[in-house]
Amino acid sequence: MKILTSLIIGAIFGIGIAISGMANPAKVLNFFDLAGTWDPSLAFVMGGALITTAIGYRVVFGARSQPLFETSFALPTNRKLDFPLIAGSATFGVGWGISGFCPGGAIPALGLGYSETFIFIAAMCVGIVLAGSLKSMVIRNTQDIPFTEK
């Protein structure tokens, strides 16, 4: 059941991304090209998604103390504005501006079957895995754990 609802909810996400234009790098890049071929459509995507979610989350959190399938809502608790957040987000922005793809736009675009999307996603997955192993390496080397060997 969990798998089925997740599949359907993912499908709604994918259709939303696809018809909104977020899966189209040409359109995404034009939103950011204020000085050139500007296309303001993405403001409508972000606005529509944000307002809908803000209202819906209020209803969900107001009506229920736990989700239907789980014992608690898995919400991020970190509230620190730290260096990884700022530097990572700035890095993401540079990559988004270079490619026109963000993760949420690229995954549904895979379903349209163009080779460019596969190339981008493959590189992005390598980036995620590399960053993950780099992070765990740094944590291993900086933590002072006397009982484990290095």
Binding site: I3, L4, T5, S6, G10, A11, G14, I15, G16, A18, S20, G21, A23, N24, P25, A26, L29, F32, L34, A35, G36, F44, V45, M46, G48, A49, L50, T53, G56, Y57, F69, N78, I86, A87, G88, S89, T91, F92, G93, V94, G95, G97, I98, S99, F101, C102, P103, I107, P108, L112, I119, F120, I121, A123, C125, G127, I128, L130, A131, K135
Partner: protein, 141 residues
């Protein structure tokens, strides 16, 4: 390359993205952020990979079915293959350390008024505006 301004389709698509985010929270208690969902099915694999894989499968195949049923989704990729590879690597590293992307921070986090997500969204939007400006109007690619 000029793209057509599509306020209604984009707004409608945005509302669907929002509905998806609400349902994932109501049923699964999860943030509909593509970075977090995707990272869980990549090494080191997360133990709850099944719902993540199902969400991603739905997100991929829904547009396929939409097109097969006669729908049209405009698609064009201005950057070269080299830039796609470089951009992909940079996006992957950035969203990992930044703990999210447009869907996780820009939609779900902002909707919760999370200070981290509001900050992240402002930072990546500015970085993207600057990058596109530099590529198109300074370098002139």
């Amino acid at each position: 390359m000029i793209t057509e301004f599509t306020p209604y389709l984009s707004l409608g698509g945005g509302v669907l993205i929002g509905i998806s985010a609400i349902l994932l929270m109501a049923f699964h208690g999860r943030i509909a952020g593509m970075t977090g969902i995707l990272a869980g099915i990549l090494p080191p694999f997360s133990s709850d990979w099944a719902w993540r894989a199902a969400f991603i499968a739905g997100a991929i195949f829904a547009p396929t079915i939409f097109v097969m049923a006669g729908g049209t989704i405009p698609f064009a990729v201005p950057p070269s293959t080299t830039l796609l590879v470089i951009g992909g690597l940079i996006v992957g590293v950035g969203v990992y350390f930044g703990s999210g992307c447009t869907s996780g921070h820009g939609v779900c986090g902002m909707a919760r008024l999370s200070p981290r997500s509001i900050t992240a969204t402002i930072v990546f939007m500015i970085a993207t505006f600057i990058t596109v400006y530099v590529i198109r109007h300074v370098i002139g690619a």
